[in-house]
Symmetry: C2
Subunit: 132 residues, 2 copies
């Protein structure tokens, strides 16, 4: 069964708890390519190569791992279509479509707020100064 991790009184899941399995899920969805991959499948199922072209810069190896991980959690399905050459289709599950929503909002937020983000260099700080 699923481990719960509510803090104290209520039994709900709480990603702030160290042992909450939700952390794994959050990390899976937070991978460098996860949000993009899920977004690529929002409209309709897609084949490997299509996804790879969409996520500009991803290597086949990394994309494979990303997709397999998402599949393991049940966010998407991988279907091999017998044909020559073979076709493999990735499609979001019901769960995946659910996760796709907050992820899409995150992507959209980033895109629409890019101009407010600061890209300046380091904030030099050094050791915290003591007051004498």
């Amino acid at each position: 069964m699923t481990v719960r991790c509510g803090s104290g009184d209520h039994p709900e899941h709480d990603v702030y708890a160290a042992l909450c399995p939700g952390r794994e899920v959050l990390e899976a969805l937070s991978g460098k390519w996860s949000a993009l991959a899920i977004g690529a499948l929002e409209a309709e199922p897609q084949r490997f190569t299509h996804i790879q072209r969409r996520l500009q810069g991803v290597s086949p190896k990394v994309l494979t791992r990303t997709l397999r991980q998402l599949e393991q959690f049940g966010f998407l399905t991988r279907t091999v279509i017998p044909a020559v050459p073979v076709r493999v289709e990735y499609a979001l599950t019901e769960l995946g479509r659910g996760a796709a929503q907050p992820l899409a909002q995150l992507r959209t937020w980033v895109e629409t707020n890019m101009d407010s983000v600061r890209f300046q260099g380091q904030t030099e700080i050094g050791p915290t100064q003591r007051i004498h």
Copy 2:
């Protein structure tokens, strides 16, 4: 100025583009502790130790790096309050409060859908079979 990365016709930012600076931002918000850290500051500014206690399991070094990174992008501010001992307060900026929303939705989605997530092991696959 800010680099744009719209695909083709429109000039908007597009995180699917390889050179889009939005990718950095998305990654910054996708760090293992980023979403949790920002969430910890949603209600009100907090001190380092408080945040550390909230994010169960984070080491001081990693938390420091997480916060500094978020500060660099302008998501939060770090204020040293002259006192003995020194107090350092972290507070979300306007930008940070904006980012906090989609992140909160993501956390909430994960927490409320944990029971639907599959935690079973690997999907054994092996090399894709060829059709003869």
